[in-house]
């Protein structure tokens, strides 16, 4: 197949590499990651501002905002997670005999914790 690679494809591949190497070198630079970080934070701030503004207006007309719904969804998810966790604890207690036999290594008190940077 390599022998049959047509000229147009070869040209595109070479062009892509010529441009791609420059782009890749940029997206691996500190400048790029600093830009991404700033852009991400700016977007978050802007979203927060717009949501805060629209929330005030919607509440004025006694309407729920998207953030209200999201907060409610988050609360429900937290409650559901707690329920699932309790259900698992009960199921594990009931299946005590069938639980895995492998013993966890006891905490090693004498070992120093991994050094911080």
């Amino acid at each position: 197949m390599a022998k049959e690679k047509p000229l147009w494809l070869d040209t595109i591949v070479r062009l892509e590499r010529a441009v791609g190497e420059q782009v890749e070198s940029f997206v691996r630079s500190d400048t790029y990651f600093d830009l991404v970080t700033q852009a991400n934070r700016a977007r978050a701030r802007m979203t927060e501002t717009v949501e805060g503004w629209s929330k005030e207006w919607l509440h004025l007309f006694n309407l729920p905002a998207n953030t209200d719904i999201r907060e409610m969804q988050e609360q429900l998810a937290r409650m559901e997670r707690r329920l699932v966790s309790l259900a698992k604890e009960i199921a594990d207690l009931e299946e005590d005999g069938k639980r895995p036999t492998a013993r966890r290594r006891a905490p090693v008190k004498k070992q120093p914790p991994p050094p911080a940077e």
Partner: protein
């Protein structure tokens, strides 16, 4: 001097191009209108907890080796990469070699899984899944193959339990030195973005953010890939393979928020795996405590987890007398697909597993 083109050659070339153009048109329509068939090898769910499922694959080939093999998939992509399509499937290959193959799939997390920590995987899912394999097969122990981050989980499990029934531990493209992970972790390293800035309202890191991480490794590469697809669009096999792989690359899964915070704080920023020890579930796990035979397998051209990030595993995990390393050609997915996979990678891995397993005589029917 180039040989002269005869009229017959010319007609034959024109015929071939017309034929290929028709096939290109047909396959082009097929490419945009159909979904590839992935994960087609028949399997049974033998254990389930939350979204984690343990699959046992079926095959007509008899089982020639004990212990069974359990593939532990990563947390950041879909596990069907190991069963991409018939004729191009790691699972199918390993079944054909006579292994009893299981795969631990962690599913696609949603807001119910946002509290999943690394302990959830290491102390809750893995011990139970391995116990389920033992119950299902009657084997005393297992061979565990952890892929990418799944390798980290498997190593922490094997080291964290003094009687973990792991005879062989294979670490496939498993990162240890996160200071060498480059572009994949650069956004959260060195005090740039905090973990919480990437976690959305579901409590998880959205799949899109993970896809962006992979995409930004080589943002222009897709141009050459699409051009190659266009040239080979007449070839059914090429199109099927491309379509399956393209789908897998796009389909990342969300990363559970609590586990992501641990990964960022401990594994990426403090790079604790390089100390050989990690605090998890109220104890310190020493990677040297792995009592299994250990194989660190890594690919020379891996752009996602570079060799420099995986190589330290050969110095950190298990007993030095029982550690081996396997350097492979290909990239991050050489464990699942690609030119090297079926010629070199998988035969080498199968050979290692067989050499560290008991051969069943006579072979066992499934």
């Amino acid at each position: 001097m180039a040989p002269a083109v005869t009229p017959i050659d010319l007609i034959s070339r024109v015929n071939r191009e017309v034929e290929r153009s028709l096939l290109r048109a047909r396959n082009g329509v097929r490419y945009v209108t159909t979904q590839p068939t992935v994960g087609a090898t028949p399997k049974d769910v033998v254990w389930k907890r939350d979204k984690a499922e343990l699959w046992r694959y079926r095959s007509d080939a008899p089982i020639r080796y004990d212990p069974p093999l359990v593939i532990v998939h990563s947390l950041v992509s879909r596990s069907y990469v190991f069963d991409l399509r018939p004729g191009n499937s790691t699972v199918e290959f390993l079944l054909g070699q006579g292994f009893d193959v299981f795969l631990l799939d962690f599913g696609s997390p949603d807001d119910l899984d946002a509290d999943n920590t690394l302990e959830t995987y290491v102390d809750e899912y893995l011990p139970r899944a391995i116990a389920a394999v033992q119950a299902e097969t009657g084997s005393d122990d297992v061979t565990v193959a952890g892929y990418c981050l799944g390798g980290v989980l498997a190593a922490l499990y094997a080291a964290g339990y003094e009687d973990a029934p792991v005879r062989n531990l294979m670490l496939w493209a498993t990162p240890f030195d996160f200071s060498e992970m480059g572009v994949m972790v650069a956004a959260v390293r060195e005090g740039r973005l905090d973990a919480d800035e990437l976690i959305d309202h579901t409590g998880n890191v959205p799949a899109d953010a993970l896809y962006s991480g992979f995409f930004m490794q080589a943002p222009t590469k897709q141009v050459a890939q699409y051009a190659t697809l266009l040239e080979n669009l007449w070839n059914d096999e090429f199109v099927d393979g491309y379509q399956a792989m393209a789908q897998w690359s796009r389909e990342q899964v969300p990363f559970p928020g609590a586990a992501f915070r641990q990964v960022v704080d401990e594994i990426v920023r403090r790079n604790v795996l390089m100390t050989g020890r990690m605090r998890l579930g109220g104890r310190v796990i020493d990677l040297e405590n792995v009592s299994a035979n250990v194989l660190c397998a890594f690919a020379e051209n891996d752009n996602v987890v570079p060799v420099t990030a995986t190589e330290p595993g050969t110095q950190l995990v298990g007993d030095p007398a029982r550690r081996e390393e396997l350097r492979l050609g290909g990239g991050h997915v050489t464990f699942a697909t690609g030119r090297h996979a079926f010629k070199h990678t998988l035969p080498a891995l199968a050979e290692w597993i067989a050499a560290h397993s008991d051969e069943l005589k006579p072979p066992k029917e499934r």
